[in-house]
Symmetry: C3
Subunit: 157 residues, 3 copies
């Protein structure tokens, strides 16, 4: 047993996504290897900002259209008020010189945080690889569990 | 210290319940002993589909009537739209031949996952033993903590 | 590596806050040292009931005004119905002689649970030290991670 860290990012909320990347990059700073496993709504955190042309069924297209595309579109888990709350949080973080979620993701990648998208959730939600950020992995729950088994800090966010 | 797994299932959302059983059965496949501790809204995951006659106070009856009864009634944590989102998720999973939550629970039981209902939450929410699935345990937080203490993967879902 | 416990309390919901303190005090009863790290909405759990005069910007004041002040004002994560659900949960717990959140916090402090408020979240949400309960610590993610690294039970609530 080892002392790495693993995070399941199930939530697609801006505030929880920010928390997960702050924990992940903090854990790297402590010398840990970190794996982040994005599943269900968490996949929205990894979506590219721009529209990507893909072959989808009608339902997949509907799902994709209803879900936020990329870090700038995510809402917050409380007091979102149709996006106003999320806008306010982004505004305050920028004013206080705190890294944006986009910058946090970039930093995590540079620090070699393993970013893994859950293949089964992508199947259910009809999200295709070309819609997600470059330089990430695609895998199933076994990959997550192997990383978690090597970790002493495991969180479900 | 051992390397089992334990999950607290606090949420009664369909999507989170599915995630928790996929993790639980996956962990068994890795050779782990798994304990799932269902508390608060998570108890709704374990409710029988059919109505069960019980002696309850008025408030207990009200709570029981407002909360979903069984896996087919659970909503999803985002974009539920009065049950439409949950219906869509069930439909897609069936079409893609992914196990339903009901089947996942059955599988977990066959794999000897320990399913524990939180006695204190049952007291607060007025849920009686006869309303919950057969073959589960009833216990308090000390039982959960003992299982968690023997685990290297502990999640709160 | 040690076998303490650490909890991140991200949520400001009454039900999740109660769960976190029941776990924390239960873990102390098992002989563990427990650290609770309150971040984002979780900070509302630690707010004093009464109004505290502080110097704030307009946005900070707005945020502070919109968020619940103290344990008696928190809502529950499901079926809150504008506070009715939370009121009902408090009522039932009192009738069943279960400790209130306020009493749970007091007990946790007496049991030497470390209660830490996340300094960065306080900055973002404009919450000042004098608005939070006495006898708590203020620190960043590195403090949380050091506690988590010494723990075998780590939860994100």
């Amino acid at each position: 047993m080892s002392d790495n860290s693993s995070l399941i990012v199930f939530s697609g909320d801006l505030d929880k996504a920010i928390a997960s990347f702050i924990i992940a990059t903090g854990a790297v700073a402590m010398g840990k290897q970190v794996t982040m496993f994005f599943t269900f709504w968490g996949l929205n955190v990894l979506r590219k900002d721009q529209y990507v042309k893909t072959k989808k069924t009608f339902l997949e297209r509907l799902f994709g259209w209803m879900m936020p595309r990329g870090t700038e579109k995510l809402g917050i888990s409380k007091m979102n008020y149709g996006g106003l709350g999320a806008w306010l949080m982004r505004y305050i973080m920028r004013k206080k010189n705190i890294m944006s979620l986009k910058q946090l993701i970039e930093t995590a990648k540079e620090l070699d945080v393993r970013i893994v998208a859950c293949a089964m959730s992508m199947e259910v939600m009809g999200i295709k690889e070309e819609e997600l950020l470059d330089g990430i992995e695609y895998a199933g729950v076994a990959t997550y569990l192997a990383a978690a088994d090597d970790s002493n800090i495991n969180l479900f966010i």
